[in-house]
C-alpha cells in the first residue's frame, strides 16, 4: 500500500516539469520531424504528405549549402577563441590583482546586455566613413574607409567578432567558479616540489578544469548554431547570404517565406547535426575528463 502511494507521489512531483518538457521540447521536436515530410499548408490548401521531397529540395538548394558552410566557419571562428579567451580572462581575474572586481564585471557585462541592443552599437562601430573603427583608422593612421559589413569577404568575420565578444565573458564565469573550487593545497604542493607556473597550469589546472571545458565546449557548439540575434540587426544574412547561418535561414524560410514544411526539414537537419556534435564531444572528451 505504502509502496504504491509513493509511486503516485513521485509522478505528482515530476508532472509539472514533465508537462512543460513534453509541451515545449518533445512534442515540438516530434512534430517538426513529422512536418518535414509534409507540404506547406496555405490558406485553404491543407498540408499533404510528400515524402522526401523537402529533403530533395534541400539537397539542391544552394543557399542551404552556403549557410551550412557559413555555419561551419562561424563555429570554427567562435568556439576555440571564445573558450581560450574565457580561460585567459578567468585566470586573470582569479589572480590577486588590483581592480579585480571591476575586471570581472567588465568581462561579464557583454553576457548581461541584450544582443539586439548591443548589435546596434556594433553597427555603429562598423559603419563605414563615420563609424568608430573608421574614425580611428582615418584619425590615427590615415587609412581609407572600410565597409566590413558590406563586403562578402569580411562580413562573416565581423559577425564572428561580435559573437566572441558576447560569449567569452559567459564562459569565463564557469572557469572562474571551477578555478575557485580547486584546493589551494595543490598550488602549495606544486611550489614545494619546485614546479614551474607553466607546468602547474599544464599538469594540474587544465586537467582539473576538463569537466568545465567539456561543459563549456558543448555550450559553445550549441551557441554557434543558436546565436543569430545580431544577424537580424546587422546584416539580415547579407550580402548575398554571406553572413546567413542555418538558424537564421530557418527563420527566414519559416517566418518570411512561410515555407513551414521546408523550414521543418531544415530544423531536422540542425537537430541531427547538434546531436551528432554533442554525442561526439562526449566520446572525444570522455577519456580526458576526470570528475572529482
Amino acid at each position: 500500500m505504502m509502496h504504491r502511494r509513493e509511486w503516485v507521489y513521485g509522478w505528482l512531483f515530476l508532472s509539472p516539469a514533465l508537462v512543460f518538457l513534453f509541451a515545449f521540447t518533445h512534442y515540438p521536436a516530434v512534430k517538426t520531424v513529422i512536418s518535414s515530410f509534409y507540404s506547406t499548408p496555405r490558406g485553404k490548401r491543407e498540408a499533404k504528405f510528400i515524402g522526401l521531397e523537402n529533403y530533395q529540395t534541400m539537397l539542391s538548394d544552394d543557399v542551404f549549402w552556403k549557410v551550412l558552410g557559413n555555419n561551419f566557419w562561424f563555429a570554427v571562428g567562435t568556439i576555440p577563441i571564445s573558450i581560450g579567451l574565457a580561460l585567459l580572462m578567468a585566470l586573470w581575474v582569479n589572480s590577486h590583482l588590483r581592480g579585480r572586481t571591476l575586471s570581472r564585471v567588465a568581462f561579464f557585462a557583454p553576457t548581461v546586455l541584450p544582443l539586439i541592443a548591443v548589435a546596434n552599437i556594433w553597427m555603429f562601430f562598423y559603419t563605414p566613413g563615420f563609424g568608430l573603427i573608421d574614425q580611428l583608422r582615418s584619425g590615427l593612421f590615415g587609412l581609407p574607409a572600410i565597409n566590413l559589413l558590406g563586403n562578402p569577404d569580411s562580413v562573416l568575420a565581423a559577425v564572428i567578432v561580435v559573437a566572441i565578444w558576447k560569449e567569452a565573458g559567459f564562459f569565463m564565469i564557469f572557469y572562474l567558479a571551477a578555478l575557485q573550487s580547486i584546493p589551494p593545497v595543490l598550488r602549495e604542493a606544486a611550489d614545494i616540489e619546485g614546479a614551474s607556473r607553466g607546468y602547474y597550469l599544464r599538469r594540474v589546472l587544465l586537467p582539473l578544469l576538463m569537466p568545465t571545458t567539456l561543459f563549456v565546449s558543448v555550450n559553445a557548439v550549441i551557441n554557434s548554431f543558436r546565436l543569430v540575434d545580431h544577424i537580424f540587426v546587422m546584416t539580415e544574412g547579407g550580402p548575398d547570404n554571406a553572413s546567413s547561418l542555418l538558424l537564421y535561414y530557418i527563420y527566414e524560410t519559416a517566418f518570411q517565406y512561410w515555407q513551414t514544411g521546408y523550414a521543418a526539414t531544415l530544423t531536422v537537419v540542425m537537430l541531427v547535426l547538434l546531436s551528432i556534435l554533442a554525442i561526439g564531444q562526449f566520446f572525444l572528451f570522455d577519456r580526458k575528463v576526470h570528475y572529482q
Binding site: R42, F255, Y257, W258
Partner: protein
C-alpha cells in the same frame, strides 16, 4: 463555428435592444509598422486616440509591431494562431501573400454608398496599382512613399556646380558625381558623389533604375518576373559601375539605415532615399538641401512603396464596419495632411494637397511637393506571389553583383531561374 454563432447571437440581441449597442463598444486591434525616422509612431497613436475620443462606440488598440517585415510576420503568425488583428498597415507588396494565406478581405464588400465609391476613386492611381488585383481592392494606401533624390546644396556650390540644378539623367549623375567626390590629403575619399543604399531591400531603389530604363520587373498578375531582361541587366550594370568604374559611390553594400546620417555628416553629396525621410532630413540636415525627382534615362521613373491598410477576414461584421469607418476617417484630407507633415509620406489623395494645412506646409517647404509630382512617373513596386521569397532571390542577385561576386548578367539569369521555379505553381 460556435464562436461565430455566439457572436451573431450577441449582435442580434444588440440590435434588438438598441440601447445596448451604444454601451458596448467594438474593440479593434490595429497593428502598425514604423520604417522611417521621426515621429511616425507618436503620430499614429495621437490620431487613433483622437478618433476614439470622438467615437465612443469603438475602442482601438494601436500596436506598434516593429518593421514592415516584423509586422507582416506578426500578423501572419497571429492569423495562423487564430487571433489576427482586425486592422493592420502592411507593405502594399505583401497583398498577394496575404490573399494567398486567405486572411484579408476585399474592401468592395464594405463599399456600398456613392460616397464610399467617390472616396475610393480619390486615391492616386499610382498607389492603387499595388492595392488592387483581379478587379478587387484589398488595400487602402496610407503610409505610401516613393524614393527621391536629396542633394547637399553647399557641396554642389563647393564643387563649382549650380546648387539649384541636380543631375537630370544617368550621365549627369556620373559627371556631377565625379566633381563632388572629395579626397583628403592621404588620398582617401571623404565625400562621395552619390549614395544609393543597397542593404536589406536593394530591389526597391533598383526598381527606380529599371523603370528609368523603361522595363518592368513583374507582370500585374504577380506570377511572372523579368529579371533577366537585357534592360534590367543594363540598369544593374549602371549601378555597379557607379562605384566600380566611375568611383562616384562607395563600394560594397551600402547600409539603408545609416544613409540619412551619412548625408548629414557630409559623407555623400547626394542620396536616394524614401520621401518618408523628408521630415527627418529637414530637422537634421545642418546645411541647405534640395529634393528632386530621380534622374531619368530612357524615361523618368520611380517605384512607389510603403504600407496599405488591410482588413482581416476573421473579424466580425461589426469589427469590419468599424475598421472601415476608421480607415475612411484617417485617410480624410485633414488627418492625412497631419500624417504627411509629421513624416513626409506622400499624401495618397489629391484633395489632401488642397487643404489649407497642406497648402501652408508646402508654401513653407516646397520640397514636399516633389514626391507628389513624381507620382506621374511612378510604377507599382515589385510584387508577386510568395513575394518575400521572390524578392529575396532578387536581392541576393543584386548583392552578388554589387559586391562583385558575380557579373550582373549571370546574377540576374540565376535569379530569374529561381523565381520561375517559385512562381510556376501560380501560372
Amino acid at each position: 463555428m460556435r464562436m461565430l454563432s455566439v457572436r451573431n447571437a450577441v449582435a442580434t440581441s444588440a440590435l434588438l435592444f438598441g440601447v445596448a449597442t451604444s454601451a458596448a463598444a467594438v474593440d479593434l486591434e490595429f497593428y502598425f509598422p514604423v520604417a522611417v525616422g521621426g515621429k511616425a509612431a507618436d503620430t499614429i497613436q495621437a490620431l487613433t486616440d483622437e478618433y476614439v475620443a470622438a467615437n465612443s462606440d469603438v475602442n482601438i488598440d494601436a500596436v506598434y509591431a516593429g518593421s514592415y517585415k516584423d509586422t507582416v510576420t506578426k500578423a501572419l503568425t497571429a492569423a495562423r494562431g487564430g487571433k489576427p488583428p482586425q486592422l493592420s498597415v502592411i507593405l502594399s507588396v505583401d497583398m498577394f501573400t496575404l490573399i494567398d494565406e486567405g486572411i484579408i478581405m476585399p474592401f468592395d464588400e464594405l463599399i456600398k454608398t456613392d460616397e464610399d465609391k467617390a472616396w475610393l476613386a480619390s486615391f492616386y492611381p499610382a498607389f492603387m496599382e499595388n492595392s488592387q488585383t483581379g478587379g478587387k481592392t484589398y488595400g487602402i494606401p496610407f503610409q505610401r512613399s516613393t524614393p527621391v533624390l536629396y542633394w547637399n546644396k553647399e557641396a554642389f556650390a563647393e564643387a563649382g556646380l549650380d546648387p539649384e540644378a541636380p543631375p537630370a539623367n544617368w550621365q549627369e549623375t556620373i559627371e556631377m558625381g565625379k566633381k563632388l567626390v572629395k579626397k583628403d590629403d592621404s588620398g582617401n575619399v571623404s565625400r562621395w558623389g552619390v549614395r544609393i543604399p543597397s542593404s536589406g531591400f536593394p530591389y526597391w531603389l533598383f526598381q527606380g533604375l529599371t523603370t528609368q530604363n523603361d522595363v518592368t520587373l513583374a507582370n500585374s498578375d504577380g506570377n511572372q518576373t523579368y529579371f533577366d531582361d537585357p534592360k534590367v541587366v543594363e540598369a544593374l550594370q549602371y549601378l555597379v559601375d557607379l562605384s566600380q568604374k566611375h568611383e562616384v559611390m562607395a563600394p560594397g553594400i551600402i547600409e539603408w539605415g545609416a544613409t540619412p546620417k551619412a548625408f548629414f555628416e557630409g559623407q555623400t553629396a547626394m542620396m536616394w532615399t524614401s520621401t518618408g525621410n523628408l521630415t527627418n532630413v529637414r530637422a537634421n540636415a545642418p546645411f541647405d538641401f534640395g529634393v528632386g525627382l530621380l534622374p531619368a534615362n530612357k524615361r523618368r521613373g520611380a517605384p512607389t512603396g510603403g504600407g496599405n491598410f488591410y482588413i482581416f477576414e476573421e473579424a466580425s461584421d461589426e469589427q469590419k464596419a468599424a475598421a472601415f469607418e476608421f480607415v475612411k476617417w484617417i485617410t480624410e484630407p485633414e488627418q492625412s495632411a497631419k500624417w504627411t507633415i509629421a513624416t513626409g509620406y506622400v499624401a495618397p489623395r489629391a484633395d489632401t494637397w488642397e487643404t489649407d494645412t497642406m497648402k501652408a506646409y508646402t508654401t513653407d517647404f516646397p520640397p514636399a511637393l516633389v514626391a507628389r509630382d513624381q507620382l506621374e512617373f511612378a510604377v507599382a513596386e515589385l510584387s508577386t506571389y510568395e513575394n518575400q521569397r521572390v524578392t529575396a532571390v532578387f536581392n541576393d542577385a543584386l548583392a552578388a553583383a554589387i559586391t562583385g561576386a558575380k557579373s550582373a548578367e549571370e546574377a540576374l539569369a540565376e535569379a530569374q531561374k529561381k523565381a520561375d521555379a517559385i512562381l510556376k505553381d501560380y501560372r
